[in-house]
Symmetry: D2
Subunit: 347 residues, 4 copies
Amino acid sequence: MIKAGIIGATGYTGVELLRLLALHPEVELAVVTSRELAGTAVASRYPNLRGHVDLNYSSPDIKALADCDVVFYATPHAVAMNTAAELLATGTRIIDLSADFRIKDIALWERWYKTEHACPKLVEEAVYGLPEVNREAIAGARLIAVPGCYPTAVQLGFLPLLEQGLVDSGRLIADAKSGVSGAGRKAAEAYLLTEATESIKAYGVAGHRHLPEISQGLSRAAGEAVKLTFIPHLTPMIRGILATLYAPVKSGTQVTAARLQSIFEDRYANEPFVDVLPAGELPATRDVKGSNNCEISVAYNEDTDTVIVIAAEDNLVKGASGQAVQNMNIMFGFEERAGLNVVALMP
Amino acid sequence: MIKAGIIGATGYTGVELLRLLALHPEVELAVVTSRELAGTAVASRYPNLRGHVDLNYSSPDIKALADCDVVFYATPHAVAMNTAAELLATGTRIIDLSADFRIKDIALWERWYKTEHACPKLVEEAVYGLPEVNREAIAGARLIAVPGCYPTAVQLGFLPLLEQGLVDSGRLIADAKSGVSGAGRKAAEAYLLTEATESIKAYGVAGHRHLPEISQGLSRAAGEAVKLTFIPHLTPMIRGILATLYAPVKSGTQVTAARLQSIFEDRYANEPFVDVLPAGELPATRDVKGSNNCEISVAYNEDTDTVIVIAAEDNLVKGASGQAVQNMNIMFGFEERAGLNVVALMP
Amino acid sequence: MIKAGIIGATGYTGVELLRLLALHPEVELAVVTSRELAGTAVASRYPNLRGHVDLNYSSPDIKALADCDVVFYATPHAVAMNTAAELLATGTRIIDLSADFRIKDIALWERWYKTEHACPKLVEEAVYGLPEVNREAIAGARLIAVPGCYPTAVQLGFLPLLEQGLVDSGRLIADAKSGVSGAGRKAAEAYLLTEATESIKAYGVAGHRHLPEISQGLSRAAGEAVKLTFIPHLTPMIRGILATLYAPVKSGTQVTAARLQSIFEDRYANEPFVDVLPAGELPATRDVKGSNNCEISVAYNEDTDTVIVIAAEDNLVKGASGQAVQNMNIMFGFEERAGLNVVALMP
Amino acid sequence: MIKAGIIGATGYTGVELLRLLALHPEVELAVVTSRELAGTAVASRYPNLRGHVDLNYSSPDIKALADCDVVFYATPHAVAMNTAAELLATGTRIIDLSADFRIKDIALWERWYKTEHACPKLVEEAVYGLPEVNREAIAGARLIAVPGCYPTAVQLGFLPLLEQGLVDSGRLIADAKSGVSGAGRKAAEAYLLTEATESIKAYGVAGHRHLPEISQGLSRAAGEAVKLTFIPHLTPMIRGILATLYAPVKSGTQVTAARLQSIFEDRYANEPFVDVLPAGELPATRDVKGSNNCEISVAYNEDTDTVIVIAAEDNLVKGASGQAVQNMNIMFGFEERAGLNVVALMP
């Protein structure tokens, strides 16, 4: 049993971490912090935790957190970077669900997040927590930057194509659809039921903060700078991301549906949480609701010589808190599925 | 480990049983039958089970089922009554999620279900599987009739009032709201998304099959014939039942909110799956989505001298498959929470 | 053609007024005010009005408003009471959609709205704008208090029973279900899609501001003080109220379903916007989505000697802005259906 | 006033036609046919029409239909082709909402619809009813093939780019999201609320019947064979199509956002139902719910040299019945907005 703490567990990645950790066989939940809610019961903020989590919120306190083997930051960006170094110095390992340590290019990060980075040194050390790419580095890491929700689905979908050099990396397209929980649990008019249900729309067409993170990962996989058009859409549902990916086949390269299928199956054969569907089947976000799975289909359009990849995940699980727990399992040598052996809720 | 079988697992109570049993620490899933789907993978019917359930459907076969320690019927009504006796004779215990063995008065059952009952003898033997009332009898039962979804919420809400004789049993009202999954997984125009979302309506005003089941249970608790107006409503959501119950205080009886609160808390103090909320808090169906909990609030309207009870459950869990598993746990001496220690999905 | 103004058109009753008035054959939309949005286009706040409404918001200005024949207040409570007298003095007639002039008992209003009333004198003059009760008074009124959304449905449902003295007015029950738009267009966590969809819950069990308004109307109809248990529910949909009403038949009175049906049909025979459904049919809120209709069913439960009335309306139309326009039509002698001849959107 | 008939008005395009025609100032609704529902009231099938449409369904009868000036086919494919010639011969004009007369290449049609075409001669004569392309031909037509829902949005979005020869017509991508009403009002498990809500998925990846229709229209506009990857998605909402379109800029061509914006504004400057949004604004499907508008945004991604067009429409209005009425208005010389001057319902 290890002791775990969570900083800032008042939003949706927080409750999802708590849901998973409360039943995790190797974890004792020791500290849950929130400045505003200090003293109140965690279960009063999240009624689904009644009977499962008995803790009260406490004010963030480095000493109490230092007692934990691992601390999760479930905070907005530009929080973790201010205290991570101090906490690491106590020997506690950190899993940061925010964007603070995801992007290696500090200037790029500062441009997109419109803030000076308080701790560039740790950015260098931080391991990008995508197990399907960095499993070994994760095992030895002190500090994990958990990937964003869109970046997880988009990277898992494009990786096999880029690693094999099959597609033209200059004109990739990711048309992504996300449930409203991606916007967090903050009172904003745009995410009211009355505004967001029974409607779909694109946003961030002029630029979205997940783009540099995705590009960094895809470029690493491709071994060259990748260019991507990334259009996210606000979709009238609570959870789920569906990423529909389009990649033109590289000039002079020949692909077939069968070859693509076996490339994807081989790539993810040993991955516990990536599930390549049988040829011809397509994922729906509901198939992974509440689970840590990413389901992927690949298809080939001969007429336009384009590869289509469709990836579905639960944005709060594989796209955030489940992936954070998966990272923790790897870091501490637990079974990688521990605490994540959940069947998606259907219907 | 016991061996379990499921008959007719093609609908929503079936998939919910499979979700719970697949991860149950004491159960090996041995047989899943469906006449139409025999030979196909269970996980192709229920994609959320990919990686969790590897079985194929088989044709119902008494020999294969007799090999199981327990068999669940997840069939429509008027199926279990035809084969239950034969299966019981092999020593297998039965948990029937359908209505076949719920109502002790055969003539009444036949009137509501418009079918001759094939096995009245077993009706007498069957134990009504509401653990909060019949825990001891369940432990020794060969045959369990799992309560219906509405009857579970309505009975749990009214029981403390009737057992204490506080309310006028001649004019009870149950205004119940159910998600669309209560209608099952059958293609019917009325339950299309386009017909059922963004709208609420009452149905069954002239009479609903759950009424005699509820009346039977309430009358037993009251020790006299209870009269109930029961109006169910189709609510635009997948899961959940909210039962808003109204009971006039018996003439000459004095109640207070505090006394009601403590009556409810005492009644359910040792119940693992009934959660009486603190005074002033109200349940929402989402607080129990995917969990076996029934959350209950009680309030008193002094002006009209009426008690208001509000009970929330997941119709597919405490209202069906979770309760079936709870019954199994009691029958086989497992920890009552085994396999049911699930945190509701939120948001 | 008359000139109309709207004060405070930034929420949902505002946009609904604009939708109806923009196409009204007798109305020219002259002024739309909002302190915060002064100078911006109305259609940028409400994109559905692009091409239909070309006005910009202006700051509230009595002179500009005095130029209008009628001014609608689409403001929160405690706004209209501050300026209505001044505006009336200019000869402009007022239709107030807020609660300021609905309740005749000033002390009662002040208790529920926790504010001192700024203009008790006008409360006396104001006509309660329920055309099915006050049509004649509306025609001559200078100041209309448009009924609340719940009060409209609940009163229309109970009126025939109370007017005929058929039911026990001491223990009426109104179990009402409202879409989320009833909470207005304000950023509040509880009404986020992620919080409000896929769930139903009761609220206001300890008391809701619409209760005194309903009681006032029902008591007037009954000719005696009516006692009502009123439990509203937040329902996962945008629009619509379904009120399920329960009334015990008065001791010594005999009713039949047929008699109830004809009482309701007779009561509303000449009402353009109340539609009593054929016996046995039940309303759904979607049947009135976007229309000014209130659909009503009545049923009788012999076993419990209880009358059940079910009323469906669109809370933003018959429950607010449509009813406001209906009042305007009556006040100015227009055809009562003018601008309200809308077919509900289905599906 | 002209007389109109509708054949097969039992689904969603039928009710939408009736909603629009019932209030159309120039149309008298004379005949509504349905073989199965002959004799029953139209308003019992579509409760939103109570009080607006008093007709009963009748069996299809050429004589009665011949009495109409115009007849709409709201039938599945392969129905209109069997009787259109006979009806045209009586002098009645036809507006077919099905696919029977949309595709000029008979062999192509037969391949996609897996049926022999019963009336190839009329395919030649039929005018494709996209007013933004064929207004003049529509005015003189006897037989209109109303475009499909996806084809309308996708064509309106791509047309300006192709007409100007700005983009590489060999690798266009249309990622389209449709509400569930696109599947019609037929009882099918996949479209149950429990299956379709709270989830998004792609379908028809291997080929969708709307592809040849779209390609035909785009190729005509481009003056060369266009190649398109078309991926539709089932989106958890009732109404609306959002088409997100991606077009690589033709090699050697230079575009800017400003130039694209003015090309789109110029192209649709005189179109009553195509609304090019101001630069930087993006459409949501809810902005056109119930209206005949198609809202379009255009953006340019410099990094990938790709044009992104986003088009939103209501699939049942501009994507079907509204467009049919627009065609009728043009054919009979009515004001083109007659009966279509509807403000979208918001929220």
